[in-house]
């Protein structure tokens, strides 16, 4: 992982690939890499769909090695959804294979002069870029079937569906999983639309003949990885809860907390939650011969994913995650697991962010285009998106556009991006992060590091708004740092609770890179990334007024607890004072 691969799609004479040493980007990975390149090389005022935007795909620090849970990949660009900097991340095989091919990042730049669609093949011998218009408007599933016919079942693919080709602001970039299915997505922020503007339908990655990345200190690395895996396996969340129920274990609990946004954020409880809970979902999956515990990439020992089959035992989709079950489920009043699985499959096939789609359909329901709870109507609305009809193009551009077009006031977005599955009126600390993050309503994974490294949490005064601000600040710093390592975020509880597992992780990174990580390094890395991102956003025209939740969160009490979001604007503005 000592070089960058740049693919310029706008060169006279056709697309051209070139390799270069890392230079100033040496030592960066994941979000650290994507945000550094975007902040330095992309003009903040450029059009996100124009030639000056770049799409950066960067594996994690330990990707391509034997380190457990190291297969996350970051995809960065100027976002067509938010207009600001974006990092969306994904599981799947991509990170491991890009890293083994020796690239710390693949940078797609420029813009072809016409609408020719290209296929990029990268292997040990180099890069081949060929026009292939036969792939136009193919869904991700058919596309990967076709790629398999030519390149076999060992390659990994990065692709876009029709939504990316149509440059929809909710379009995702798909990564194939261990079974070579396009089920893992860098979903947020419209990264798929940027890939679409580059005219690239699919990148085929073949690491045949490439070695696994080796650590600087193999013995120490092996021992640390072993201790890390043991820690993950013995913890009740990573060893039992997630493999048994997946992330959808949260539905019942968030519902009980009154924090499950229901009917487009009207209430915090959904009557049908029990029908779509992780408990119910697992029983359905087991009964149909699906797999309840399954990894999204090789080297995952937690295995929060699974296989969801139809009534006849045929594959439909991977286990729909909590966020998806909420977005297409409670948020739209739908309590049928099979419909949610079908919508998830369609999102993956068209190449769409499930959160943004669920939120946009919720807003469309609020506008009266369908009744809340009408599963068939939700499926039909999503089909419109896949077809690219005028209505589909509106919904495919996300909740904010849908709300604007249909005159809806309650639109749950920050910086144009839909909120995830927790109502910030009930969990206000998360609301602080949703409001102020550089990414637009998202990104909260760094909690374990804040407790362990930054030593915050318990000392925060719960009644002082500054407490929320301090927590959010440290969470965002830690999250940026974790995103840069490329580790799966679900390691967090095990490293939060078990000091020896946290130590094993730190040792593993140290033994791999040959550099010992200190608390100060983690903090500095996180702050540096956030500083790049804030700077980019401010040059792109973002101001404090963009760091706000929509007004309805402050004005409409959320049942059952009847709470409003009461963190003051001046407190939100202190989040980045460090």
């Amino acid at each position: 992982m000592d070089k960058l691969l740049r693919i310029d799609m706008g060169m006279d004479g056709g697309p051209k690939a070139s390799e270069e040493p890392l230079g100033d980007y040496a030592g960066l990975a994941g979000r650290g890499m994507t945000s550094a390149i975007i902040a330095k090389e992309v003009p903040p005022l450029c059009h996100p769909l124009g030639k000056d935007n770049k799409l950066v795909i960067a594996p994690g620090l330990l990707s391509g090695s034997h380190a457990a849970q190291s297969g996350r990949v970051s995809v960065g660009c100027k976002s067509p959804l938010t207009g600001g900097i974006k990092e969306a991340n994904s599981g799947g095989q991509g990170a491991q294979v890009i890293a083994r091919l020796g690239y710390a990042a693949i940078v797609l730049e420029g813009k072809p002069g016409d609408d020719t669609l290209y296929k990029v093949v990268i292997n040990k011998d180099g890069v081949e870029i060929t026009p292939d218009n036969s792939l136009k408007m193919m869904g991700n599933y058919d596309l990967i079937d076709k790629i398999r016919e030519t390149y076999g079942d060992k390659v990994a693919c990065i692709s876009i569906g029709p939504a990316g080709e149509m440059k929809m602001a909710a379009a995702s970039v798909a990564f194939t999983d261990m079974e070579q299915r396009p089920t893992r997505h860098a979903g947020r922020g419209g990264v798929g639309a940027v890939m679409g503007t580059k005219g690239i339908k699919v990148i085929v990655l073949d690491d045949t003949g490439m070695p696994t990345r080796s650590p600087k200190d193999p013995e120490k690395f092996k021992a640390a990885n072993k201790a890390f895996v043991q820690g993950l396996k013995k913890h009740p969340i990573t060893g039992e809860g997630l493999p048994s129920f997946g992330t959808n274990i949260l539905t019942n609990v968030i519902n009980e907390a009154g924090a499950l946004p229901t009917h487009n954020f009207k209430t915090g409880r959904f009557d049908g939650a029990g029908n779509i809970s992780g408990e119910t979902q697992s029983e359905i999956m087991k009964a149909r011969g699906g797999m309840v515990a399954h990894g999204c990439h090789k080297g995952c020992v937690i295995r929060c994913s699974g296989i969801y089959n139809d009534k006849d035992g045929n594959f439909v989709t991977k286990r729909p995650e909590y966020e998806t079950v909420w977005a297409h489920g409670g948020n739209c009043g739908i309590d049928d697991m099979d419909t949610i699985a079908e919508l998830d499959r369609m999102d993956d096939d068209y190449g769409l962010d499930t959160i943004e789609m669920g939120a946009a359909i919720g807003v469309a329901m609020e506008a009266g285009l369908a009744e809340f709870g009408d599963a068939e109507a939700a499926v039909n609305l999503l089909k419109e998106v896949g077809k690219g009809s005028p209505l589909g193009r509106i919904i495919g551009n996300g909740a904010a556009v849908t709300g604007k077009v249909f005159g809806v006031e309650r639109v749950p977005v920050v910086k144009g991006q839909a909120l995830p599955a927790y109502d910030p009126r009930s969990v206000q600390g998360m609301g602080v992060t949703y409001a102020t993050t550089t990414m637009g309503a998202d990104h909260t994974a760094g909690y374990a590091v804040t407790a362990n490294v930054l030593n915050v949490g318990g000392s925060v005064d719960p009644l002082n708004p500054e407490g929320q601000v301090e927590l959010s600040r440290n969470l965002q710093i830690a999250t940026a740092a974790i995103d840069a390592t490329g580790m799966c975020l679900f390691i967090a509880f095990a490293i939060l609770d078990q000091p020896e597992t946290f130590e094993a992780l730190v040792d593993m990174i140290g033994a791999f890179t040959g550099q010992n990580l200190t608390a100060d390094d983690v903090t500095e890395l996180g702050k540096t990334i956030l500083t790049f991102e804030r700077d980019f956003n401010s040059r792109a025209g973002f101001t404090q007024k963009d760091d706000r939740l929509p007004n309805f969160f402050k004005e409409e009490p959320l049942p059952p607890h009847n709470v409003t979001f009461d963190v003051k604007d001046e407190d939100l503005d202190r989040v980045f004072n460090w």
């Binding site: 274990i249 009980e256 029990g274 719960p462």
Partner: protein, 224 residues
Amino acid sequence: MGSPAGGSPFSSVVKRPMEPKPENYSTINLRLTVESDRLSLFSSLLGQGFTLKVRTGCSLRELLCEQLGVHADYVDQRIQTIFLDGKTVDDVDTAVIRQESTLALSAAMPGLAGATLRRGGAYAAMRRQISHQNTAGHNSVADGVVMLKLFNLVALELGPGFLKQGIWIRGKHMENFFKKVPDYFWPGCRAAEIDGTPLKVEEIRRLEWRHRQVFLKLEVKESG
């Protein structure tokens, strides 16, 4: 963690008075004989809530450990996320059970949301608006009824104990269960009895449960 020492999460077999006297509903006693590998299917039902007759006015710990017989280690280690009337509980010793309280029990949850809702967790400050306020010191102990909801690993581990003793559930939840339960439940449901009268298993699917209060009791047989 899990069931302490891998054994039963109950410290003793407590004889629980389970039958409240539901009003405004006709009641029905349903007894099912099911194979042990079908027990996990009841998790969704346990998550909807069932009522118990208990002594109210006591602390949550007293209810769980002394009245319901749950092992103290299990309460401290496994039950990491607790809601009393929808509010997150941080301290089981000071939270007081009231008449008609709803109590929900869960294992630790993933993600920042999970960390935030966790009892006494580092991120409790982030959900102060929905935290349960301590209510110790105003107790008047009395007979009463509470609704208990069991989620995820806690449902798998504590659920069978409650189901074998019998639980009161709303008819609409029972009806929904029979409607949605995966088909493979039925071959593992070996016998059914209503108010002491045996009936064919497939008939329980056809009965009208909605406007009744159901006392469900399971007898568990080894699978196979």
